[in-house]
Symmetry: C2
Subunit: 338 residues, 2 copies
């Protein structure tokens, strides 16, 4: 194959205020073709194989994000949409990777990219014939988020009663497993829109179901969704309960205010709410990956094809696959296979 000199890529066309859209006069993204620069020293030309789909990406493109108030540089109109992924090395001027290697990249929604050797990391083989895509999920940032959020930010202890929202999603489903099988929580209650093993927030009896299941005595709430479910959880927390505030997917696609009725419970029950971003823990990634791999080997942690939903996609359909995140239907980590 001749070395490509151009690449297709999806760039941000309009910052969305509500749901991202591919239609109409103000589409969120637009497909472009751009020139690739020639390789200089210590660089790689990579071809994107897989893309990670994360709710947090929505926050990177949001309108009205004030300067300096996001944990990463927001994506500007005209820039390639950001995403983590796995790429195959096509050409290399680096001693660290050679043609054919698979590497973790953060090149975004692009077919090809020229990246520096320090912007990629190598992929080790996984035990039990697990797909390398788990490096985007259970054994990547998702697993790290779940582990550190639960144990460090949520200060969860053996025997605790733990509630997890977004429990069918990538992070939530890992939190449930870590709480049950690594931590030894006293009980773990998941909240999701569909999963059979979870409380269904779409059920008309959800408020009562949640109260009955928790007995208003929750030690740790791992919050992936914010919004109304957060408000419902406040009166169900135990004295000195902890809330690990990981995500607010309920708010990402809208500007409506969260009507919080139960804030006073934060005071009366002496709750501790800790917001966190996994980027702060990247130096712990190898250690946590080791813990999780050992738990897989010990049969405590189940990581398999049910832990992810891998969707084969044309390059043109990348945004459509990503937008499935906000439909509430996917199970486990949503990965795009190109």
């Amino acid at each position: 194959m001749a070395t490509p000199t151009q690449t297709k890529c999806w760039v941000l066309a309009n910052k969305p205020t509500k749901n991202p859209t591919l239609e109409g006069a103000q589409p969120t993204f637009t497909l472009k073709t751009e020139n690739l620069p020639p390789l200089t020293a210590n660089q790689l030309l990579v071809k994107t194989l897989y893309l990670s789909n994360d709710p947090a990406q929505r926050t990177w493109v949001g309108a009205n994000v004030p300067e300096g108030r996001l944990y990463t540089k927001p994506i500007d109109v005209g820039q390639v949409m950001g995403a983590r992924g796995i790429g195959e090395v096509i050409e290399s001027t680096s001693a660290k990777a050679q043609k054919g290697d698979h590497v973790l990249i953060s090149a975004g929604w692009t077919e090809y990219a020229v990246v520096g050797e320090d912007q990629v990391s190598a992929i080790e083989s996984l035990p039990g014939g697990l797909s390398e895509t788990h490096y985007l999920g259970a054994l990547g940032g998702t697993g790290l988020t779940a582990y550190y959020g639960l144990l460090v930010q949520g200060e969860a202890k053996r025997g605790d009663k733990v509630v997890v929202s977004g429990a069918a999603g990538a992070t939530g489903s890992m939190v449930v497993q870590i709480a049950k099988h690594i931590l030894g929580a006293g009980s773990v209650i998941g909240i999701a829109g569909s999963d059979q093993k979870c409380l269904n927030y779409k059920s008309p009896s959800f408020a009562k179901d949640l109260r009955d299941a928790t007995d208003a005595n929750v030690d740790v709430y791992f919050d992936n969704v914010g919004g109304e479910i957060l408000d419902m959880m406040l009166p169900l927390m135990a004295l000195h309960g902890r809330i690990a505030a990981c995500g607010a997917i309920s708010a990402y696609n809208g500007e409506d205010a969260l009507p919080l009725k139960n804030w006073f419970q934060v005071i009366t029950m002496r709750l501790r709410i800790h917001g966190f971003i996994v980027l702060d823990y990247l130096n712990k990634a190898p250690e946590v990956r080791g813990v999780l791999k050992q738990a897989i080997a010990d049969g405590k942690l189940r990581v398999d094809e049910k832990s992810q939903t891998v969707v084969s996609s044309s390059f043109e359909d990348i945004p459509r696959v990503w937008m499935k995140l906000f439909e509430g239907g996917n199970t486990g980590k949503l990965v795009t296979r190109l």
Copy 2:
């Protein structure tokens, strides 16, 4: 004087859902006369001299407080309204106090009360001729709340930028002084409804004033009010900022939801929100009182008649004085002198 055998008292007549009221068909309180029991061993008959007025009392009488979700037993209809105060011992069967002694009591809105010797504590004299009423404020629960909330829950450190709401009130004004003169904060910004030295939340330019004054880089927010000001503060917190959630006076007299627009900032800026109740720190009261007395002696902490507003009142006017708390006009600790 003959030993009284009856006492006037204000009892809870109807749990308020909005503003407490003394009028109409559903008055919050009603004045009653009740019999006093005879003294048995180790008891005191006390006459109330001063009553402490605290926003938290509103939460003790609120309708719709679910069982077990308040830090103290709620006051039921028919019970005497709760309050801390200072009483004079009229008769004693206890070796711990004698006739004429002044003691701290929690007997509520009652003219006389029979209390056990373990339900009162002695009042030591204060330096510099300070009034004993400061044991209800700066050197009592108020000072303890301010000190522990700022230094322990808010994890405030020397050089920090600190914002305090309710800054003209009893707790807030102590927080401002402790931050400035004991902690050595880098800057201290108070928010109040009237105080000249504070940002005025009633000003049409308040949002801009607050942003300009804080430069969106607040290390510690000591929150006495909750509500809209809390929401405005979230985008002004520094990375890893801390919020000491002490009160939510904005919500005490209403059931309206707090429209929180900026929750996501808790996550992106990794904020830590800690709710707390001073009751958890009562064992630290003597230690903190020592620190504060020393600071007064060193000229670092100003506690004087400006630290409190003492209102002379008939017994009949006790509820009216208390309700001044919710009008936003009082400065420092509001004390009722009978």
